[in-house]
């Protein structure tokens, strides 16, 4: 017996080879049905674990490339969405402007803002119309929400608009429905105030302040802002001032109207004149 095992051990190379050759030949001589069955079993036994890993790697690679594609597509879609949202906002703005100019038969010149000045807080706008379009200095500049400023320097195709936030800007104003007239302007800290209010007044927080029509530039009735709070003037303490919230957020303005209708504009630069007509109805009609 030991001789038999010794023989096998001594000839193990050749015997293994013969065994494997015999198995291969037997596999070759199987019927097609059995070959098919055996091939499937072998495929499952030998290759399945590798194929599982390969499938995972393949899946991961596909996922990665899909991720790159989706990121790119997401970026493009976001850009498109942003463009559509911007178009929608512009459409709404233009609709509001159109509605505003239709509401009352007043001659407005619609202008686009092409520059917002160089300071941190804009004090001037530059608009894309000039005296060749019918503009001149000291014309009121408005949006549907209210007062923006007035024209100051007019070139053939460009005009500088002094905004209500400019430290030198002043407009005579009063609460709507009341007669406490005072001057509205901006302080050095860019806050809007109504100055020189008598101690005895009828003003209350929340009152809408509109232009009073005095000064010959701004017709009556243009919304300027709302009163937020009242306080004593620091210097003399015989007058009060009202802190105001502007009617127009200048950061959101991109198109404006210039009121170029001579029916509303006072004669010349004499600031004592009252503007010749009122725009009150423009904001009161629905």
């Amino acid at each position: 017996m030991s001789k038999f095992f010794s023989f096998i051990w001594d000839h193990r190379q050749n015997l293994l080879f013969l065994l494997l050759v015999l198995i291969s030949l037997s596999a070759l001589s199987l019927s097609s049905h059995r070959r098919f069955y055996l091939a499937r079993r072998v495929n499952r036994a030998i290759l399945a674990p590798f194929q599982l890993v390969v499938a995972r790697v393949d899946y991961f690679l596909q996922l990665k490339s899909e991720n790159v594609k989706l990121r790119k597509s997401n970026f493009l879609l976001n850009l498109e969405l942003y463009r559509l949202q911007e178009a929608k906002r512009q459409n709404q703005r233009l609709e509001a402007l159109l509605e505003f100019s239709r509401r009352y038969p007043v001659r407005f010149i619609a202008c686009r803002i092409i520059s917002g000045g160089l300071g941190e807080k804009a004090h001037v706008f530059i608009i894309d119309k000039g005296f060749e379009d019918g503009l001149s200095p000291n014309l009121p500049v408005l949006v549907p929400e209210g007062l923006v400023g007035k024209t100051v320097e007019v070139d053939p195709h460009r005009t500088v608009v002094q905004l209500y936030s400019h430290p030198e800007f002043r407009v005579s104003a009063k609460p709507r429905g009341k007669e406490d007239r005072a001057i509205v302007g901006s302080s050095q800290n860019n806050k809007m105030y109504m100055f020189n209010i008598p101690l005895r007044n009828q003003l209350e927080p929340g009152d809408l302040i509109v232009s009073s029509g005095m000064g010959g530039i701004f017709p009556k009735g243009i919304p300027v802002g709302r009163i937020v709070g009242l306080e004593e003037e620091e210097e003399m303490r015989i007058k009060m001032r009202a802190r105001m919230e502007p009617a127009v957020d200048l950061d959101k303005v991109s198109e404006v109207f210039v009121l170029a209708d001579t029916a509303f504009i006072g004669p010349g630069d004499n600031l004592l004149f009252e503007a010749t007509d009122s725009l009150t109805q423009l904001w009161e009609r629905p």
Binding site: L16, L20, V21, S24, A27, R35, F36, A39, R40, V42
Partner: protein
């Protein structure tokens, strides 16, 4: 070649074959990556490992071709065994010699394999052996030596 290095080499070849086989074609010429594994098993581990590797690699290939199930196993077992037997007859650590061995193994493999495969169509057998097999043999040798070189290089780098 250490057992670890050989195992890495075998796994790399197996995965390359399964993952990238369809991308490795050069015109109509395909490399036989399993044959490279069988050749190196015979060269470095002897006739038992050569014939066993040949049998299992052949069986894996056969599992995709039901018509001649066992033919790859048979031819690769023979190749693995023969290379294991004659490995001491030449200086097998030389890259060039290994390349020549792979080419010769591929030629012999195809001569046996296609003799059965094309037994009914001798014209196709000659076309295969004279035109396609030499190209495939050279391509297989280049690829096999390239993978072996990369693994050697990688192991040398990591053992520093």
């Amino acid at each position: 070649m250490s057992n670890l290095k050989f195992l890495i080499f075998a796994l790399v070849l197996f995965f390359v074959h399964l993952l990238f086989y369809q991308y490795l074609s050069f015109g109509e010429t395909y490399p036989d990556l399993f044959l490279i594994l069988v050749v190196f098993a015979g060269l470095y581990k002897g006739p038992e490992a050569g014939s066993a590797a040949g049998f299992f690699c052949g069986l894996a290939q056969d599992s995709f071709s039901y018509a001649f199930f066992g033919l790859h196993a048979l031819t690769k077992t023979i190749i693995g065994f023969l290379i294991g037997k004659i490995r001491h007859s030449f200086y097998s650590n030389n890259f060039l010699v290994q390349g020549v061995i792979i080419i010769a193994a591929k030629m012999l493999h195809d001569i046996i394999y296609y003799a059965v495969f094309f037994s009914q169509v001798p014209g196709s057998y000659l076309h295969q052996i004279l035109l396609r097999t030499p190209l495939s043999a050279v391509y297989t040798a280049v690829l096999g030596l390239g993978i072996l070189f990369l693994i050697n290089f990688r192991i040398r780098i990591s053992s520093r």
